[in-house]
């Protein structure tokens, strides 16, 4: 029954304490929100926490949701803010140096999110560098790259989610790709 409803209709039902309706929203968007959080934070555990907090916040603020924006945009905005919050907490705890561009050259890295024995050391190193390069981008540029590459959203969808003009989204992505190119070219690695 709830599967045939739009996101906005589901929210309307969820406001009236229909837990099944909100469950459907979670089901539809949990993967994409998790992808966004993973791309923004680079760590599975932090990404999981941020995704959980995103949906909890969304549930608590259902009544504040105005029908002006799409539900996906609303969720993305909450998720990005949560990622920034988690990042600030991590920075305060000095557990990670991802966000500090000055420390990017230091050889202190957080352990990769997932280490597979089947992967070569070289591959792991390469992935580490890429992860570091993406996470070291500023939040504005990072979220556009992550939404494009991890969530596979269109420019229009990104523009709606971030409430930005279409041209701004494209120019930000262009700038992000340029910076990534510089960072990756600076680090000796074989780009496949």
């Amino acid at each position: 029954m709830v599967k045939n409803l739009t996101d906005e209709q589901l929210v309307e039902q969820a406001v009236n304490d229909n837990s099944e309706a909100f469950g459907e929203i979670v089901k539809r968007w949990e993967r994409k929100i998790f992808a966004l959080c993973f791309g923004m934070l680079g760590r599975e555990d932090e990404a999981g926490d941020a995704a959980q907090e995103t949906f909890i916040l969304a549930y608590r603020n259902l009544k504040n949701f105005r029908g002006e924006a799409k539900v996906s945009s609303w969720l993305h905005r909450i998720a990005v803010n949560q990622c920034l919050t988690v990042k600030r907490r991590a920075k305060t705890r000095s557990e990670s140096f991802f966000d500090d561009e000055n420390n990017a050259d230091e050889k202190v890295f957080v352990a990769p999110a997932r280490l597979s024995p089947a992967r070569t050391t070289e591959q792991n190193e390469r992935l580490k560098i890429i992860r570091q390069a993406v996470v070291s981008l500023t939040a504005e540029l990072r979220q556009v790259v992550v939404m494009k590459e991890f969530e596979e959203m269109t420019f229009q969808e990104i523009a709606e989610a971030l409430d930005l003009p279409l041209s701004t989204v494209k120019s930000r992505l262009y700038t992000a790709l340029k910076q990534l190119r510089l960072k990756l070219e600076r680090t000796p690695m074989e780009i496949v």
Partner: protein, 276 residues
């Protein structure tokens, strides 16, 4: 065509077209135009190639580190709602009205305090109300129990008369005996018509003499004397001298209405007594 941005870097004017073409979000017309441009612009071609490599790296990171990850379980602290499903309501005990009140008061202590204050207020108002009623009742009883001034020679204390005529006991309950100047004074050794008037009509002052025979008048006088003698004895026993004058001074009834007197007339009683 190239432009120099604020950092003195060469920046292709086809920036937007580059990313659109890179991610396949360009129209067919624009796609052909950009491809023609790439062929004629080595810088843009090189930049496009580099962007492709960067994108491939990011995708590799996504596929290696993220694609194989399972989505974390999302636990939402849903608000508990009571579902009045028929099967559930059958299984669960019914919710009583007082449990809803308890739930209401448990929401906030303000409710509890407000309810307590309201109860106290209601109690005080009820106490005042009942006090007033009881006072009114007392006043009404007092008025009802007052005797009217009887004409001379007539008995004004029917209670005492009745007690004399019924073996002198004064303890019988005569709360509903209304003083009337026509109560029985027949000397009948205790057998008098029961002049307890159960209806609550008010006392009227009557002229007893108008229908009494001399014989009857003497009987009444005798009874009155006996009453006054008894009172004198009692007052002496208590150390209080009560003068006959004062004993006969009973509070007068005032402003009473003349209702239909349904009591037995003294005359009728005396006639009965004579007849016997």
């Amino acid at each position: 065509m190239f432009a120099i941005d604020n950092k003195n870097n060469l920046s292709c004017a086809f920036a937007e077209e580059t990313v659109e073409y890179l991610y396949g979000e360009t129209s067919a017309v624009d796609k052909n135009a950009f491809e023609r441009h790439l062929k004629s612009c080595p810088t843009c071609a090189e930049e496009f190639s580099a962007f492709n490599a960067v994108r491939a790296s990011v995708l590799e990171w996504r596929n290696e580190d993220f694609a194989t990850l399972a989505s974390p379980p999302i636990e939402i602290p849903y608000r508990k709602t009571v579902e009045f499903n028929q099967t559930i309501s059958e299984a669960q005990p019914p919710i009583f009205w007082h449990s809803r009140f308890r739930r209401l008061f448990s929401l906030s202590p303000v409710w509890t305090y407000s309810a307590a204050f309201a109860l106290i207020l209601v109690g005080i108002c009820a106490a005042f109300f009942f006090l007033n009623i009881s006072k009114k009742d007392e006043i009404a009883d007092l008025k009802e129990n007052q005797t009217i001034a009887a004409p001379p020679g007539a008995s004004t204390d029917s209670q005492e008369l009745a007690s004399i005529l019924t073996d002198g006991t004064e303890n019988e309950s005569v709360n509903e005996v209304y003083r009337s100047n026509e109560t029985a004074t027949a000397v009948n050794n205790g057998k008098i018509a029961n002049s307890v008037i159960t209806n609550k009509s008010k006392v009227e002052q009557r002229n007893i003499n108008r229908q009494l025979t001399p014989h009857k008048i003497n009987a009444i006088k005798t009874a009155n004397q006996e009453i006054s003698l008894r009172r004198t004895k009692e007052s002496n026993n208590f150390g209080n001298k009560v003068s006959p004058a004062t004993t006969n001074k009973l509070p007068k009834l005032s402003n009473f209405e003349e209702d239909e007197d349904k009591s037995l007339r003294l005359a009728e009683l005396l006639e009965d007594a004579d007849a016997r």
